[in-house]
Amino acid sequence: MADHNSFHFLGKKTIRKDGLAKVLGAEKYASDLSIPGMLYARVLKSPFPRARVKSIDVSKSEGMGAVVITFIEMPRIRFCPRLVSTPEATYKDWRVLSGNPLYVGEPIAAVASESEEDAQRALEAIEVDFEVLEPYMNALDSLKGGEGLLHENVVFNEKEIQVENNIACRLEITEGDVQKGFSESDVVIEREFRTNRRYHNQLENKSVLVSPEVDGGVSLWSTSQTIHNTRLLLHEIFGIPVSKIRVHKAALGGSFGSSIQTNTIVPIAVALALKARRPIKLSYTREEDMRDHSSYQMIFRMKLGAKKDGKLQAGELNMIMDIGAHQVQAYPLLGCVVGWWVSLYKLPNLRYVGKAVYTNKVPSCALRGYGNPQTTWATESMMDELAEALGMDPLDLRLKNYIGKGDLFWGQGPTVKSIINSCGVEEILRRGAELIGWENRPKPFAQRGRFRRGIGLGRGYHTSSAGSPIPGTVIDYTGAILKVNEDGTLDYITAMMDQGGGTLDAHAKIISEEIGVPVDNVNVVVADTQTTVYDVNTHASRGVYAGGGVALMVARQVKAKILEFAGRALEAYPHALKIRPDEELGQAVIYAEGLTSKQITLGELASMARVKNWGTIAAVESLRPGSCPPHFTGYFIEVEVDTETGKVKPLKVVAGADIGTVINPDLAAGQIHGGFAMGWSMAILEDTPYSESGDLLNQGMMTDYKTPTTLDLPKLDDFKVFFVETYEPSGPFGAKGIGEGALNPVAGAVANAIYNALGIRFYVLPMTPNMILKALKDRERIK
């Protein structure tokens, strides 16, 4: 079906299936679960950013009746908590508990008791003697290596390799002749950018409930974006047979990438459960969660060269990223950063050097966009600067150079290249410009007075999945099971998680659309690792595209079987039968057009199949996407800067997106609303600075991790979202992703808007009132 105007369900507003439980307060998140007889666990964390445990005495806590584990008795194995890359792209430097903690908050030991209070008291009774070591609180210092190595060696591709200069991993890419490209350019600019180190601040803190089983296995529920990889990791660490580890899905209270990897607390809780032989509940508090994961902080040195007419000739990018104390996915990220960078605009000659550096900070992991928001902020700032240097309209410069339909792009890095088959960039930019009034935007230096306005543009994209025509180093496939019940409903069973975006609702709609059953009749089953086929992860904005893709595959097969059975039942040719969702009957009806006697409901058919022993109508499939088509976004943001306080207000937002066929309009718009809020916050508010002692300055308290409130964002009428019409041939019914593209361009657009208002360019995030006021003062002084 290519005519996307005739969809029955897609593009129509529906109520999300898990919504009812959520508005009733009945939805169960990992932190809400309990099992009779469970113990409450607490984790002993390193108070020092770098130390060695000389001795640890747990006798007092054990005397209080607590079950205690320390790093000493943990399996000797080093692992990587994220199992998305192939072994030749996976570095392992984590332990369940550590005797050589490398960040404030790193788990050293854990206790479990009958109540959380008892557990906390037992925790306080543990005595530890530390040798405190000099930490590296800055990637550039770390590179110099004056205080020795944080990891002497790490495990790579199952072998120990030496670490040099605290560089966790590096990647260099050259294409074409950069020197030549720059010498042929009329304008060359080079700038340095530094991003913030943000915290996910997902509302649900990391949590796990583990129950030891009589067969030596475990059952567990945790905050996770991947139940199958959790199972495989626990097998790797504890040697429990895979089939005896049962990981259940539990609703996620937001994640934004912070549970792509199996969370730190999960193996700890498993170790406790194995020792205690009792169920263990371990829920982090906010202050613990904030010391558990953060985004990647990046320092970019970027150089771009262009001809007078605006055609880009060459680009060079040096990137150093501070990954904190351990690698979650630093190596694949090095590839992605270059991918994000070179897939926005055509660069005939390019050179990239990326280095990931260990520091004694909270370990970094993906945070919605996986380095793309950072890279795009720098790139989009550069494009505006370049436009100014060339005397061009920034919009035209982008239109001249963007990568679109028919072009090769390598969004998820050099091993994940494919050709773009759908692209709405031009329409996004043109319509957005019109809606915001781009033509009439202020001139950067023209304004006087206290309050100054500016309009900025940022564009971006993200891949939908990490698929590609060849295997590469990223594992990306997903599976689904679909079966028809005797009442005509369908059970859809997938391991894929919904982070809140409504991914699984989109799947249900795709199935409904393909078969012709009412959406209400598709049940999304809350499943586990034993009852599902493998899915790698809900990440890389792949939920709708890849997950929806396999949902469509099983739907097609089930549809074929339905028609085959109906042919038998109605004594008609299967290929001549049709299926319609009958609202009145609340059922799918299979019928031969024009022949009223020849029709049967799906429920009747399934029941007949049972009594006649035809069997169950069902299908199971796996899908590896052959590409990862970009979904494109563009933001036009108008701000007002108070030059007396340095405060920036968002006045107006216009956001356009090309996500292929829109499956769930209000949920897709919801992704953009949330993406904007997160991007705005990234641009002007969020950071996790560290104190002298190497701990978070805010000590994990939300009081000092600021995000915008309801009052700090634009009014309803001042926030316009539009979708352009495209059709992605490789996607289910033409659909692509949206989750990350919704965020990626925002910080760049804000930076450009502030520049438009003040004529001052900022190269550091977040752009705080302090920074803005100081810059204004400095400018006055120079004048």
Binding site: K13, I15, R16, D18, G19, L20, A21, K22, V23, L24, G25, A26, E27, K28, Y29, S31, D32, S34, E117, H200, N201, Q202, L203, E204, N205, A251, L252, G253, G254, S255, F256, T285, R286, E287, Q499, G500, G501, G502, N664, D666, L667, A669, G670, H673, G674, G675, F676, A677, M678, M701, M702, T703, T707, T709, T710, L711, L713, K715, L716, F719
Partner: protein, 160 residues
């Protein structure tokens, strides 16, 4: 210590320690887990419940201090199997994403509409500023509150 609390219209006597927080009494003791912990220090509103009709934070309320009070949690909002207008509106406007903030928002919004049946957008934003949501950017949540207010007006419903 013994405290008497009416929770979702049911009176009960509870044995609590002085240091026991209302949030834990609800979540751990009587397994009403709709009230969420988000920050523990009053910054996120996920633990919002109504105490004698007013929105308060269960993470900063001692159970003993609530003695004699009437507590309403998200589990008490739907009556006789029928959703409240706010719950319906949250579904209809797509105001629910991960849903972890939803109970807190609904409780605060319920107090708002009881106090002010036709709030302006600014008033809604002002009233809800202590409820944090990472997913939605608040847009559909504000719309949902507006929609619920309109629904009530249409059917002439007053305070419930």
């Amino acid at each position: 210590m013994k405290v008497e609390l009416t929770i979702n219209r049911r009176k009960g006597i509870f044995e609590v320690e002085p240091n026991e927080l209302l949030i834990n009494l609800l979540r751990e003791k009587i397994r009403l887990t709709g009230t969420k912990y988000g920050c523990g220090i009053g910054m996120c509103g996920a633990c919002t419940v109504l105490l004698d009709g007013e929105p308060v934070l269960a993470c900063l309320t001692l159970a003993v201090d609530a003695d004699g009070g009437e507590v309403e949690t998200i589990e008490g909002v739907a009556r006789e199997g029928k959703l409240d207008d706010l719950q319906e509106a949250f579904l209809e406007e797509g105001a629910v994403q991960c849903g972890y903030c939803t109970p807190g928002f609904i409780m605060t919004a319920k107090a708002l509409l009881n106090e002010n049946p036709s709030p302006s957008e600014d008033e809604i934003r002002g009233y809800l500023k202590g409820n944090y949501c990472r997913c939605t950017g608040y847009v559909n949540i504000i719309k949902a509150v507006q929609r619920a207010a309109e629904k009530r007006k249409r059917i002439g419903k007053q305070e419930i």
